[in-house]
Symmetry: C4
Subunit: 220 residues, 4 copies
């Protein structure tokens, strides 16, 4: 954070988390998952009252600077007017954080964009039988199926956040691993930035596998 | 600029812009958008009289050096004979700068080459419905269509520059976001180098999406 | 290794090998062959009694740290409780090391995942006629065929290790170059880390060739 | 070169050329054009008597060291027994150097491997109409056709070198820009390492374009 920002509760861990999110941005940009000013990333810095550090709106993710982050409360409101504007999608981050996510990463890859558009009619992308599934939190065998929910893309983020929250609280139809917004990209989360980053890598890998299998064999 | 070059109006900002264009070249070369000596980049360093800093002709874009840039006037004429030769396409840069571009980036990607050849018959590549469209200047919802004009490739750059200028002045058929030269590549622009770079990244991403969608689903 | 670890027989060579495996992880992660916490790597540090240095379970391969390695005996048991847990697949590494491998590398690429699933019904992926085959240990002409065995993916690594060992001892049907686990990835090996790394690069290249040929020509 | 090597005519330029070839190897390895120990590179360090600096046989091109180069005469014989062994393909480098090449680069990309195998029956890969063709030495308009000869792959490099030499001397059917060995890779050359590197980048780009066009449109 810039020196003008209000002192956060404990400076050093936040600096570490800013560094880790900057490094995520650099790697995801290099891979083509966060081009332009797309994507946003966040991490919970205080669970009570819920406080998140997240990327501000409109910055290049490949070259994030410490003063391009903002600290928000559980309503995704900035804690200081000196901060940059939070992303329009900040409410999705706080919705996930309220239900246990320690860090949330949102990326825009080519594969996620195309697959989410194509499978929107089914409401989810289903992936099964691959070893890499074991990299997803809570999966311990490749004989599993990951069901990645797909929502229509929307400009009404508040409404989508409500849908996500109610789904997160529904034990009969839980939202696991991540979700896609059609023609838009992937949201995933974990206990920490490192855990969420692993989920991104695993899911993007699986999207590439689904794509490649279709190209080689003609079927999804 | 080399120490032998005539002193530019204010040295430090130009050094910064050279650094930023060198960094563009390094990244675009790494991504395969500026291989060989293809591509050229420019930035307006004085609006009145119009003066541009641009890459000289025939240099490797992945390893640009400060003395491989040239300063030109509104007619794309070099301001000093010690400068390297301007690119043959310099007139396209000045045409865009006369109509408000602060920086112009031209790249040659595989996807832009193939799509521009294929869609030349339609005069434009139309892309709609993707969230990434919001990364283009002036687009605020994914429920938009970007119309990227495609011109036949030509060796007569002066003639094409005239066409581009008249299109830029035509409110009924404005030229927005960028244009393609068939089998050649993409021109785009922005208020600053950073803004133009974002446009390149967004458009190249969308070209990949169009390509991948076609491969997966059989339709564009 | 961390300073708390038991002193290995001779420190410096192990430090070199840790550095080399860290560098493998960084490169394979960058290429997308070791995303998430997938993959594991090992090297023999003592042939008698057989002792291997290998990556611990669950670490990011793109950012391996010296204290994320473990030293195991021929039964894949950790030599010190201060070490991290060995990978579940450690028994495959020791099986290969017992039969002469000096280093074993296991990666998860998109191409290996998709091809191994597709060709599992044939029991092997057969590749012939390419110059790159000469990069495989023991092949001296492109007029050769590499037969890469494919096994069904399994959670019972001990059983698979037994199958691998019996195959390694069977002169009538030797296991050469590497093997695939369906929907999972590639195991290969060499006299040294550098030799095994070359095998990975050659085999992954050939998997890309097989994939691309199929896409271009419709046949494998 | 290692300090034990015989002093070359003038040390500093050779050091520069070693550095430049090491940098080529690093970039081509990163792009997947020189995986395993594939590829070899050379530069003329004396035209009279013809003397070339080239990569020794069997080294990783992504991590070349100064002592992995060899200096050879016009018969591709090493000038000092302390040098590593020249590549088996050294005679192709000297054949090209005898007819004017200042530097020769040979790479193994996936696209070159697959296209050269597919088009061997036609004896050449023909590419026309793309702006990038202007990056090839001697081409000044995109309304050109590059004819890249394809030879069957062979272990008899001496015989192929003779064919190449006679073709280089035949004004009725000159060998321009480069040639392919089927299922193997690309040879190209230029006045300098930088010029040959540009040719590699241009040709590899065009191979990607040909591949992508086929995938998108169904025709080459």
């Amino acid at each position: 954070m810039s020196s003008e920002s209000p002192a956060p509760p404990c400076t050093d861990p936040i600096d570490d988390q800013i560094r880790e999110l900057i490094e995520c941005g650099r790697d995801f940009h290099r891979r083509g998952w966060s081009l332009g000013t797309s994507s946003n990333y966040s991490v919970v810095i205080d669970p009570e009252p819920l406080t998140l550090l997240m990327t501000g709106s409109g910055f290049d993710k490949g070259r994030l600077q410490p003063d391009q982050f903002v600290i928000v409360n559980e309503n995704a409101e900035s804690l200081d007017e000196a901060f940059p504007k939070p992303s329009a999608e900040a409410l999705l981050h706080t919705a996930l954080a309220k239900h246990g996510a320690g860090a949330v990463l949102h990326t825009h890859s080519v594969a996620a964009t195309v697959l989410s558009e194509h499978f929107l009619k089914d409401g989810a992308l289903r992936i099964e039988g691959y070893e890499m599934l074991k990299g997803l939190s809570g999966i311990t065998t490749h004989e599993s199926e990951a069901v990645i929910a797909i929502y229509p893309n929307t400009q009404d983020i508040a409404a989508l956040a409500t849908v996500i929250e109610s789904r997160l609280q529904n034990p009969a139809s839980p939202l696991r691993h991540g979700f896609l917004m059609a023609g838009h990209g992937l949201y995933t989360w974990g206990d920490s930035i490192a855990a969420a980053r692993r989920q991104i890598e695993v899911l993007e890998f699986l999207f590439e596998v689904v794509t490649q299998k279709r190209l080689l064999t003609g079927s999804f």
